[in-house]
Protein backbone atom coordinates (compact mmCIF):
# COMPACT_ATOMS: atom_id res chain seq x y z
CA UNK A 1 0.00 0.00 0.00
CA UNK A 2 2.74 2.40 1.03
CA UNK A 3 4.77 1.22 -1.92
CA UNK A 4 1.96 1.86 -4.40
CA UNK A 5 1.40 5.32 -2.93
CA UNK A 6 5.09 5.99 -3.27
CA UNK A 7 5.15 4.87 -6.89
CA UNK A 8 2.09 7.03 -7.61
CA UNK A 9 3.93 9.97 -6.06
CA UNK A 10 7.00 9.25 -8.17
CA UNK A 11 4.79 9.12 -11.23
CA UNK A 12 2.88 12.33 -10.60
CA UNK A 13 5.50 14.49 -8.88
CA UNK A 14 7.41 15.31 -12.09
CA UNK A 15 4.30 16.33 -14.04
CA UNK A 16 3.00 18.41 -11.13
CA UNK A 17 6.40 20.05 -10.93
CA UNK A 18 6.48 20.76 -14.67
CA UNK A 19 3.02 22.25 -14.90
CA UNK A 20 3.75 24.43 -11.87
CA UNK A 21 6.87 25.64 -13.64
CA UNK A 22 5.11 26.29 -16.96
CA UNK A 23 3.05 28.97 -15.26
CA UNK A 24 5.89 30.24 -13.08
CA UNK A 25 7.55 33.61 -13.84
CA UNK A 26 9.62 33.77 -17.01
CA UNK A 27 13.16 33.00 -15.87
CA UNK A 28 15.60 30.26 -16.76
CA UNK A 29 15.96 27.84 -13.89
CA UNK A 30 14.99 28.09 -10.28
CA UNK A 31 17.22 28.96 -7.38
CA UNK A 32 16.01 26.88 -4.47
CA UNK A 33 18.51 28.15 -1.95
CA UNK A 34 22.14 29.15 -1.47
CA UNK A 35 24.07 27.38 -4.27
CA UNK A 36 21.12 25.09 -5.13
CA UNK A 37 19.55 25.24 -8.62
CA UNK A 38 16.89 23.30 -10.51
CA UNK A 39 16.37 23.11 -14.29
CA UNK A 40 14.18 20.95 -16.47
CA UNK A 41 12.77 20.28 -19.91
CA UNK A 42 9.91 18.54 -21.64
CA UNK A 43 9.20 17.84 -25.31
CA UNK A 44 6.51 16.20 -27.40
CA UNK A 45 7.06 15.15 -30.99
CA UNK A 46 4.94 13.91 -33.87
CA UNK A 47 6.26 11.69 -36.66
CA UNK A 48 4.68 10.81 -39.99
CA UNK A 49 6.46 8.61 -42.54
CA UNK A 50 5.81 7.49 -46.12
CA UNK A 51 7.19 4.02 -45.23
CA UNK A 52 8.86 2.46 -42.17
CA UNK A 53 8.10 3.32 -38.55
CA UNK A 54 9.98 5.92 -36.51
CA UNK A 55 8.81 7.06 -33.08
CA UNK A 56 5.69 4.89 -33.05
CA UNK A 57 3.43 3.62 -35.85
CA UNK A 58 4.29 6.57 -38.07
CA UNK A 59 3.65 4.67 -41.31
CA UNK A 60 -0.08 4.32 -40.70
CA UNK A 61 -0.74 7.93 -39.60
CA UNK A 62 0.73 10.54 -37.24
CA UNK A 63 2.55 8.91 -34.31
CA UNK A 64 2.93 10.74 -31.00
CA UNK A 65 5.42 8.45 -29.32
CA UNK A 66 8.44 10.81 -29.19
CA UNK A 67 8.55 12.46 -25.78
CA UNK A 68 11.16 13.51 -23.20
CA UNK A 69 10.94 14.93 -19.70
CA UNK A 70 13.83 15.66 -17.38
CA UNK A 71 14.67 17.68 -14.30
CA UNK A 72 18.00 18.31 -12.65
CA UNK A 73 19.40 19.63 -9.41
CA UNK A 74 22.85 21.04 -8.82
CA UNK A 75 24.33 22.11 -5.53
CA UNK A 76 27.56 24.01 -4.94
CA UNK A 77 28.15 23.89 -1.17
CA UNK A 78 31.57 25.56 -1.53
CA UNK A 79 33.36 27.04 -4.57
CA UNK A 80 35.38 23.85 -5.09
CA UNK A 81 32.60 21.25 -4.89
CA UNK A 82 29.62 20.67 -7.19
CA UNK A 83 27.05 17.89 -6.87
CA UNK A 84 24.77 17.35 -9.89
CA UNK A 85 22.02 14.92 -10.82
CA UNK A 86 19.29 14.64 -13.45
CA UNK A 87 16.22 12.40 -13.72
CA UNK A 88 14.97 11.56 -17.21
CA UNK A 89 12.02 9.80 -18.79
CA UNK A 90 12.08 9.23 -22.55
CA UNK A 91 9.60 7.69 -24.96
CA UNK A 92 10.66 6.66 -28.49
CA UNK A 93 8.45 4.16 -30.32
CA UNK A 94 9.20 0.59 -29.29
CA UNK A 95 12.72 1.45 -28.16
CA UNK A 96 12.04 3.55 -25.06
CA UNK A 97 8.99 3.35 -22.82
CA UNK A 98 9.28 6.32 -20.47
CA UNK A 99 10.83 4.57 -17.46
CA UNK A 100 12.12 7.17 -15.03
CA UNK A 101 15.89 6.83 -14.68
CA UNK A 102 18.93 8.61 -13.31
CA UNK A 103 20.38 10.35 -16.37
CA UNK A 104 23.55 11.46 -14.61
CA UNK A 105 24.67 11.94 -11.01
CA UNK A 106 28.16 12.89 -9.91
CA UNK A 107 30.44 14.85 -7.61
CA UNK A 108 32.81 17.42 -9.13
CA UNK A 109 35.89 18.68 -7.29
CA UNK A 110 37.87 21.66 -8.62
CA UNK A 111 41.58 20.99 -8.19
CA UNK A 112 42.98 24.16 -9.73
CA UNK A 113 41.38 27.51 -10.64
CA UNK A 114 43.62 30.48 -11.30
CA UNK A 115 41.44 32.74 -13.46
CA UNK A 116 42.35 31.42 -16.89
CA UNK A 117 43.04 27.76 -16.11
CA UNK A 118 40.77 25.22 -14.43
CA UNK A 119 41.39 21.56 -13.66
CA UNK A 120 39.00 19.25 -11.86
CA UNK A 121 37.83 15.70 -11.36
CA UNK A 122 34.35 14.14 -11.53
CA UNK A 123 33.21 10.85 -10.00
CA UNK A 124 29.87 9.13 -10.58
CA UNK A 125 27.50 8.57 -13.46
CA UNK A 126 28.73 10.91 -16.22
CA UNK A 127 27.65 11.84 -19.73
CA UNK A 128 30.17 10.64 -22.31
CA UNK A 129 31.85 13.45 -24.25
CA UNK A 130 31.48 12.49 -27.92
CA UNK A 131 31.24 15.10 -30.64
CA UNK A 132 29.59 18.47 -30.03
CA UNK A 133 26.19 17.26 -28.83
CA UNK A 134 26.24 13.86 -27.08
CA UNK A 135 26.10 15.12 -23.49
CA UNK A 136 22.78 16.98 -23.95
CA UNK A 137 21.24 14.90 -26.75
CA UNK A 138 17.93 14.42 -24.88
CA UNK A 139 17.39 18.14 -24.30
CA UNK A 140 15.38 19.29 -27.33
CA UNK A 141 16.45 22.94 -27.47
CA UNK A 142 20.17 22.01 -27.39
CA UNK A 143 19.86 19.64 -30.37
CA UNK A 144 20.71 20.80 -33.89
CA UNK A 145 17.25 19.59 -35.01
CA UNK A 146 14.26 17.57 -33.77
CA UNK A 147 16.34 14.42 -34.04
CA UNK A 148 20.11 14.25 -33.79
CA UNK A 149 22.15 13.75 -36.96
CA UNK A 150 21.77 9.96 -36.88
CA UNK A 151 25.13 9.20 -38.50
CA UNK A 152 27.20 10.34 -35.52
CA UNK A 153 24.44 10.22 -32.87
CA UNK A 154 22.39 7.18 -33.85
CA UNK A 155 19.37 6.74 -31.56
CA UNK A 156 19.76 2.94 -31.91
CA UNK A 157 23.08 3.18 -30.08
CA UNK A 158 22.04 6.02 -27.79
CA UNK A 159 22.03 4.15 -24.48
CA UNK A 160 25.39 2.57 -25.17
CA UNK A 161 27.21 5.80 -26.01
CA UNK A 162 25.36 8.19 -23.69
CA UNK A 163 26.42 7.74 -20.12
CA UNK A 164 28.58 5.56 -17.89
CA UNK A 165 29.73 5.29 -14.31
CA UNK A 166 33.35 6.15 -13.80
CA UNK A 167 35.96 8.78 -13.20
CA UNK A 168 36.76 11.80 -15.35
CA UNK A 169 39.57 14.35 -15.27
CA UNK A 170 38.92 17.66 -17.07
CA UNK A 171 40.42 21.05 -17.64
CA UNK A 172 40.31 24.19 -19.69
CA UNK A 173 42.63 27.06 -20.44
CA UNK A 174 41.63 30.38 -21.97
CA UNK A 175 43.66 33.06 -23.68
CA UNK A 176 42.37 36.27 -25.23
CA UNK A 177 41.69 34.60 -28.59
CA UNK A 178 42.07 30.88 -27.97
CA UNK A 179 40.54 28.44 -25.52
CA UNK A 180 41.25 24.75 -25.07
CA UNK A 181 39.17 22.34 -23.01
CA UNK A 182 39.71 18.64 -22.51
CA UNK A 183 38.44 15.68 -20.55
CA UNK A 184 39.31 12.03 -20.22
CA UNK A 185 37.10 9.37 -18.64
CA UNK A 186 37.59 5.79 -17.46
CA UNK A 187 34.37 3.78 -17.06
CA UNK A 188 32.37 0.66 -17.82
CA UNK A 189 29.69 1.17 -20.53
CA UNK A 190 26.01 0.83 -19.59
CA UNK A 191 24.48 -1.82 -21.75
CA UNK A 192 21.12 -3.07 -20.41
CA UNK A 193 19.33 -2.47 -23.70
CA UNK A 194 17.84 -4.94 -26.20
CA UNK A 195 18.45 -2.41 -29.00
CA UNK A 196 22.14 -3.11 -28.47
CA UNK A 197 21.57 -6.83 -29.16
CA UNK A 198 20.10 -5.90 -32.55
CA UNK A 199 22.91 -3.49 -33.24
CA UNK A 200 25.74 -5.87 -32.32
CA UNK A 201 24.26 -9.27 -33.20
CA UNK A 202 21.41 -8.47 -35.59
CA UNK A 203 18.93 -10.35 -33.36
CA UNK A 204 17.72 -10.38 -29.77
CA UNK A 205 17.78 -13.84 -28.18
CA UNK A 206 17.46 -12.49 -24.64
CA UNK A 207 21.19 -12.44 -23.86
CA UNK A 208 22.77 -9.47 -22.11
CA UNK A 209 25.83 -7.37 -22.66
CA UNK A 210 28.04 -6.22 -19.80
CA UNK A 211 30.51 -3.34 -19.75
CA UNK A 212 34.27 -3.83 -19.45
CA UNK A 213 37.01 -1.29 -18.75
CA UNK A 214 36.76 1.50 -21.33
CA UNK A 215 37.99 5.04 -21.86
CA UNK A 216 36.91 8.10 -23.80
CA UNK A 217 38.64 11.45 -24.23
CA UNK A 218 37.86 14.75 -25.89
CA UNK A 219 39.77 17.90 -26.72
CA UNK A 220 38.02 21.07 -27.93
CA UNK A 221 39.57 24.21 -29.32
CA UNK A 222 37.76 27.54 -29.63
CA UNK A 223 39.04 30.55 -31.52
CA UNK A 224 37.81 34.10 -30.85
CA UNK A 225 35.02 33.23 -28.43
CA UNK A 226 33.68 30.41 -30.59
CA UNK A 227 33.93 31.96 -34.06
CA UNK A 228 35.64 28.64 -34.86
CA UNK A 229 35.23 25.48 -32.77
CA UNK A 230 37.10 22.27 -33.46
CA UNK A 231 37.20 19.04 -31.51
CA UNK A 232 38.50 15.51 -31.48
CA UNK A 233 36.79 12.79 -29.44
CA UNK A 234 38.24 9.32 -29.24
CA UNK A 235 38.12 6.21 -27.15
CA UNK A 236 37.95 2.44 -26.78
CA UNK A 237 34.80 0.81 -25.46
CA UNK A 238 34.61 -2.87 -24.54
CA UNK A 239 31.63 -5.14 -23.78
CA UNK A 240 31.09 -8.85 -23.23
CA UNK A 241 28.06 -10.98 -24.00
CA UNK A 242 26.23 -13.31 -21.63
CA UNK A 243 24.01 -15.54 -23.82
CA UNK A 244 20.28 -16.07 -23.17
CA UNK A 245 18.80 -19.44 -22.15
CA UNK A 246 18.29 -20.56 -25.75
CA UNK A 247 20.83 -18.62 -27.74
CA UNK A 248 22.91 -19.49 -30.83
CA UNK A 249 25.60 -17.03 -29.75
CA UNK A 250 28.43 -17.97 -27.40
CA UNK A 251 29.76 -15.73 -24.63
CA UNK A 252 31.70 -13.45 -26.98
CA UNK A 253 33.13 -9.99 -26.55
CA UNK A 254 33.28 -6.85 -28.68
CA UNK A 255 35.71 -3.94 -28.75
CA UNK A 256 34.79 -0.62 -30.33
CA UNK A 257 37.45 1.97 -31.18
CA UNK A 258 35.87 5.25 -32.07
CA UNK A 259 36.86 8.77 -33.07
CA UNK A 260 34.90 11.84 -34.12
CA UNK A 261 36.27 15.05 -35.64
CA UNK A 262 34.09 18.13 -35.12
CA UNK A 263 34.27 21.53 -36.79
CA UNK A 264 32.00 24.55 -36.52
CA UNK A 265 31.99 28.12 -37.77
CA UNK A 266 29.70 30.66 -36.06
CA UNK A 267 28.84 34.14 -37.25
CA UNK A 268 25.97 36.38 -36.22
CA UNK A 269 23.46 34.86 -38.65
CA UNK A 270 25.07 31.60 -39.74
CA UNK A 271 26.42 28.45 -38.12
CA UNK A 272 28.00 25.74 -40.24
CA UNK A 273 28.71 22.47 -38.45
CA UNK A 274 30.39 19.30 -39.73
CA UNK A 275 31.36 16.12 -37.92
CA UNK A 276 33.06 12.99 -39.25
CA UNK A 277 33.60 9.78 -37.32
CA UNK A 278 34.55 6.13 -37.60
CA UNK A 279 34.07 3.22 -35.24
CA UNK A 280 36.08 0.04 -35.67
CA UNK A 281 34.08 -2.95 -34.42
CA UNK A 282 35.88 -6.20 -33.52
CA UNK A 283 33.77 -9.08 -32.24
CA UNK A 284 35.24 -12.41 -31.13
CA UNK A 285 34.20 -15.80 -29.72
CA UNK A 286 30.49 -15.52 -30.56
CA UNK A 287 30.70 -18.67 -32.70
CA UNK A 288 28.80 -17.08 -35.60
CA UNK A 289 31.07 -15.97 -38.48
CA UNK A 290 28.90 -13.10 -39.79
CA UNK A 291 29.03 -11.38 -36.39
CA UNK A 292 32.80 -11.85 -36.16
CA UNK A 293 33.48 -10.06 -39.46
CA UNK A 294 35.45 -6.91 -38.53
CA UNK A 295 33.87 -3.74 -39.81
CA UNK A 296 34.46 -0.02 -39.53
CA UNK A 297 31.48 2.29 -39.57
CA UNK A 298 31.74 5.64 -41.35
CA UNK A 299 29.56 8.59 -40.36
CA UNK A 300 29.44 12.29 -41.28
CA UNK A 301 27.12 15.21 -41.67
CA UNK A 302 27.22 18.83 -42.71
CA UNK A 303 24.65 21.29 -41.45
CA UNK A 304 24.14 24.96 -42.29
CA UNK A 305 21.86 26.95 -39.99
CA UNK A 306 20.64 30.47 -40.79
CA UNK A 307 19.25 32.65 -37.98
CA UNK A 308 16.58 35.23 -38.84
CA UNK A 309 15.16 38.12 -36.81
CA UNK A 310 12.36 37.15 -34.45
CA UNK A 311 14.18 34.01 -33.21
CA UNK A 312 13.54 32.01 -36.39
CA UNK A 313 16.07 29.50 -37.68
CA UNK A 314 16.19 27.45 -40.87
CA UNK A 315 18.69 24.64 -41.46
CA UNK A 316 19.73 22.24 -44.19
CA UNK A 317 21.60 19.06 -43.31
CA UNK A 318 23.05 16.12 -45.22
CA UNK A 319 23.72 13.13 -42.99
CA UNK A 320 25.37 9.88 -44.11
CA UNK A 321 26.04 6.62 -42.32
CA UNK A 322 27.62 3.33 -43.49
CA UNK A 323 27.90 0.27 -41.25
CA UNK A 324 30.96 -0.80 -43.27
CA UNK A 325 33.16 1.81 -44.92
CA UNK A 326 34.47 -0.82 -47.34
CA UNK A 327 30.92 -1.87 -48.32
CA UNK A 328 29.03 1.40 -48.86
CA UNK A 329 26.34 -0.22 -51.00
CA UNK A 330 25.71 -3.00 -48.45
CA UNK A 331 25.82 -5.55 -51.32
CA UNK A 332 28.66 -7.63 -49.83
CA UNK A 333 26.82 -7.98 -46.56
CA UNK A 334 23.51 -8.63 -48.33
CA UNK A 335 24.96 -11.49 -50.37
CA UNK A 336 26.36 -13.19 -47.24
CA UNK A 337 23.48 -12.51 -44.84
CA UNK A 338 20.61 -12.77 -47.34
CA UNK A 339 19.28 -9.39 -46.20
CA UNK A 340 18.38 -6.19 -48.04
CA UNK A 341 21.51 -4.12 -48.75
CA UNK A 342 19.86 -0.82 -47.67
CA UNK A 343 19.74 -1.86 -44.00
CA UNK A 344 23.51 -1.18 -44.03
CA UNK A 345 23.47 2.54 -44.90
CA UNK A 346 21.35 5.70 -44.61
CA UNK A 347 21.61 9.03 -46.47
CA UNK A 348 19.33 11.70 -45.10
CA UNK A 349 18.58 15.18 -46.50
CA UNK A 350 16.86 17.32 -43.86
CA UNK A 351 15.27 20.74 -44.14
CA UNK A 352 14.19 22.19 -40.79
CA UNK A 353 12.66 25.29 -39.29
CA UNK A 354 12.67 26.38 -35.65
CA UNK A 355 11.01 29.20 -33.74
CA UNK A 356 11.94 30.10 -30.16
CA UNK A 357 9.38 31.92 -28.04
CA UNK A 358 10.79 32.62 -24.61
CA UNK A 359 11.16 29.19 -23.01
CA UNK A 360 9.34 27.37 -25.82
CA UNK A 361 10.88 25.90 -28.95
CA UNK A 362 8.64 24.90 -31.86
CA UNK A 363 10.22 22.92 -34.70
CA UNK A 364 9.32 21.20 -37.94
CA UNK A 365 11.51 19.23 -40.31
CA UNK A 366 11.28 17.21 -43.50
CA UNK A 367 13.56 14.22 -44.12
CA UNK A 368 14.20 12.50 -47.45
CA UNK A 369 16.04 9.27 -46.72
CA UNK A 370 17.71 6.53 -48.74
CA UNK A 371 18.50 3.50 -46.56
CA UNK A 372 17.41 2.34 -43.12
CA UNK A 373 20.64 1.76 -41.15
CA UNK A 374 19.49 3.87 -38.18
CA UNK A 375 15.95 2.48 -37.98
CA UNK A 376 15.36 0.18 -35.03
CA UNK A 377 14.15 -3.32 -36.04
CA UNK A 378 12.01 -3.12 -32.89
CA UNK A 379 9.95 -0.43 -34.71
CA UNK A 380 10.24 -1.85 -38.24
CA UNK A 381 11.47 -5.46 -38.70
CA UNK A 382 14.39 -5.76 -41.16
CA UNK A 383 12.40 -7.58 -43.84
CA UNK A 384 9.71 -4.86 -43.82
CA UNK A 385 12.09 -1.89 -44.16
CA UNK A 386 11.62 0.12 -47.37
CA UNK A 387 14.71 1.63 -49.00
CA UNK A 388 13.47 5.11 -49.88
CA UNK A 389 11.24 6.96 -47.45
CA UNK A 390 10.23 10.43 -46.32
CA UNK A 391 9.51 11.67 -42.84
CA UNK A 392 7.80 14.74 -41.37
CA UNK A 393 8.61 15.60 -37.74
CA UNK A 394 6.99 18.26 -35.55
CA UNK A 395 8.00 19.11 -32.01
CA UNK A 396 7.09 21.43 -29.16
CA UNK A 397 9.61 21.73 -26.34
CA UNK A 398 9.74 23.73 -23.16
CA UNK A 399 12.46 24.24 -20.56
CA UNK A 400 13.30 26.14 -17.41
Amino acid sequence: MIRSRFSALIRWAPSLFFWTMVFAPSVHGVELGEGLQAHGFISQGMSLTSDNNFGGNSDSGPAWDLREAGANLSWRPTPDWLISGQALARWAGETDNGDLRLDYGFVDRTLLADGETQVGVRLGKLKNPLGFYNTTRDVAHTRPGIIMPQSIYMDRGRNFWLVASGLSLYGNREHANNAVSWQISAFEPEVDDSDLNYLMLGRDFGGEFHGRSSWLGQIMYEREGGLWRAGLSLGDLAIKYRPGVVDPFNAGHTDLSTWVLSLEHNSENWSVTAEYGQTEVRSREYGIPIVERDNTTEAWYVQATRRFPGDWQVFLRYDVFYFDKSDHSGEDFASIAGANPWIRYAKDWTLGVRKDIDRWTLSAEWHQIDGTAWLSPADTPYNQQSQEWDMLLLQAAWRF
Partner: protein
Amino acid sequence: MFMLTPVSGSALAVEIIAHKGIPPNALSLATARSIFGMRQVKWPDGTLIRVFVLPDPHPTHGALCKERLNLFPYQLRQSWDRSVYSGMAQAPSEVSSEEELMNRVAATPGAIGYVRKARAHDPVKILRID
Protein backbone atom coordinates in the same frame (compact mmCIF):
# COMPACT_ATOMS: atom_id res chain seq x y z
CA MET B 1 34.28 42.84 -38.98
CA PHE B 2 32.64 44.36 -35.94
CA MET B 3 33.48 41.20 -33.99
CA LEU B 4 37.18 41.49 -34.58
CA THR B 5 37.59 45.18 -33.78
CA PRO B 6 37.84 46.13 -30.11
CA VAL B 7 35.72 49.18 -29.44
CA SER B 8 37.64 52.04 -27.83
CA GLY B 9 37.02 53.06 -24.20
CA SER B 10 34.58 55.95 -24.33
CA ALA B 11 32.26 54.42 -26.97
CA LEU B 12 31.44 51.34 -24.88
CA ALA B 13 27.76 50.89 -24.23
CA VAL B 14 28.07 48.53 -21.28
CA GLU B 15 30.06 48.39 -18.07
CA ILE B 16 30.99 45.37 -15.98
CA ILE B 17 30.20 45.86 -12.32
CA ALA B 18 31.01 43.81 -9.25
CA HIS B 19 30.42 43.72 -5.50
CA LYS B 20 32.72 46.18 -3.70
CA GLY B 21 34.34 43.40 -1.68
CA ILE B 22 35.92 41.50 -4.59
CA PRO B 23 39.72 41.86 -4.97
CA PRO B 24 40.43 42.65 -8.68
CA ASN B 25 39.88 46.05 -10.35
CA ALA B 26 40.38 44.65 -13.84
CA LEU B 27 39.87 41.36 -15.69
CA SER B 28 41.56 39.96 -18.77
CA LEU B 29 39.25 39.17 -21.70
CA ALA B 30 39.97 35.46 -21.12
CA THR B 31 38.96 35.67 -17.45
CA ALA B 32 35.83 37.68 -18.26
CA ARG B 33 34.76 35.05 -20.82
CA SER B 34 35.58 32.30 -18.38
CA ILE B 35 33.50 33.94 -15.61
CA PHE B 36 30.46 34.78 -17.78
CA GLY B 37 30.79 31.33 -19.40
CA MET B 38 30.36 29.86 -15.86
CA ARG B 39 33.69 28.01 -16.07
CA GLN B 40 35.52 30.11 -13.48
CA VAL B 41 33.64 29.96 -10.17
CA LYS B 42 35.86 31.66 -7.58
CA TRP B 43 37.75 34.93 -7.13
CA PRO B 44 41.49 34.88 -6.34
CA ASP B 45 40.66 35.15 -2.60
CA GLY B 46 38.46 32.03 -2.80
CA THR B 47 35.06 33.79 -2.69
CA LEU B 48 32.36 32.16 -4.81
CA ILE B 49 31.62 34.17 -7.98
CA ARG B 50 27.90 34.97 -8.38
CA VAL B 51 27.06 35.91 -11.98
CA PHE B 52 23.97 38.06 -12.64
CA VAL B 53 22.67 38.49 -16.19
CA LEU B 54 19.80 40.12 -18.07
CA PRO B 55 17.50 38.11 -20.38
CA ASP B 56 19.04 37.09 -23.75
CA PRO B 57 17.02 39.59 -25.86
CA HIS B 58 17.92 42.58 -23.61
CA PRO B 59 20.03 45.10 -25.59
CA THR B 60 22.49 45.50 -22.70
CA HIS B 61 23.07 41.73 -22.71
CA GLY B 62 23.74 41.91 -26.45
CA ALA B 63 26.20 44.74 -25.83
CA LEU B 64 28.03 42.74 -23.13
CA CYS B 65 28.42 39.74 -25.44
CA LYS B 66 29.45 41.60 -28.57
CA GLU B 67 31.46 44.52 -27.18
CA ARG B 68 33.01 43.07 -24.03
CA LEU B 69 33.24 39.31 -24.58
CA ASN B 70 33.55 39.30 -28.40
CA LEU B 71 30.91 36.65 -28.96
CA PHE B 72 27.19 36.48 -29.78
CA PRO B 73 24.42 36.00 -27.19
CA TYR B 74 23.36 32.70 -28.81
CA GLN B 75 26.86 31.30 -28.27
CA LEU B 76 26.81 32.16 -24.58
CA ARG B 77 23.34 30.60 -24.25
CA GLN B 78 24.48 27.41 -26.04
CA SER B 79 27.52 27.19 -23.80
CA TRP B 80 25.39 27.63 -20.63
CA ASP B 81 22.87 25.03 -21.84
CA ARG B 82 25.57 22.47 -22.60
CA SER B 83 26.88 22.87 -19.04
CA VAL B 84 23.58 23.16 -17.18
CA TYR B 85 21.84 20.15 -18.78
CA SER B 86 24.86 17.87 -18.37
CA GLY B 87 25.48 18.94 -14.77
CA MET B 88 28.94 20.34 -15.48
CA ALA B 89 28.21 23.87 -14.22
CA GLN B 90 25.46 26.04 -12.80
CA ALA B 91 23.52 28.72 -14.66
CA PRO B 92 23.92 32.45 -13.98
CA SER B 93 21.15 34.21 -12.03
CA GLU B 94 18.83 35.98 -14.44
CA VAL B 95 17.12 39.23 -13.41
CA SER B 96 14.65 41.22 -15.45
CA SER B 97 15.98 44.81 -15.25
CA GLU B 98 19.23 46.73 -14.94
CA GLU B 99 17.99 48.33 -11.72
CA GLU B 100 17.42 44.92 -10.15
CA LEU B 101 20.78 43.73 -11.44
CA MET B 102 22.54 46.72 -9.84
CA ASN B 103 20.77 46.06 -6.51
CA ARG B 104 21.59 42.34 -6.52
CA VAL B 105 25.27 42.90 -7.38
CA ALA B 106 25.58 45.57 -4.66
CA ALA B 107 23.99 43.28 -2.07
CA THR B 108 25.61 39.91 -2.94
CA PRO B 109 29.21 39.15 -1.87
CA GLY B 110 31.25 37.87 -4.84
CA ALA B 111 28.71 39.17 -7.38
CA ILE B 112 29.48 40.30 -10.94
CA GLY B 113 27.13 41.75 -13.57
CA TYR B 114 26.79 44.56 -16.09
CA VAL B 115 24.77 47.70 -16.76
CA ARG B 116 24.62 50.16 -19.61
CA LYS B 117 26.01 53.02 -17.54
CA ALA B 118 27.35 52.90 -13.99
CA ARG B 119 27.80 56.14 -12.05
CA ALA B 120 30.55 57.05 -9.61
CA HIS B 121 28.22 56.97 -6.60
CA ASP B 122 26.70 53.55 -7.46
CA PRO B 123 27.31 51.08 -4.60
CA VAL B 124 29.39 48.73 -6.84
CA LYS B 125 32.87 48.45 -8.28
CA ILE B 126 33.38 49.07 -12.04
CA LEU B 127 35.77 46.51 -13.56
CA ARG B 128 38.07 47.28 -16.48
CA ILE B 129 38.67 44.67 -19.15
CA ASP B 130 42.35 44.66 -20.13
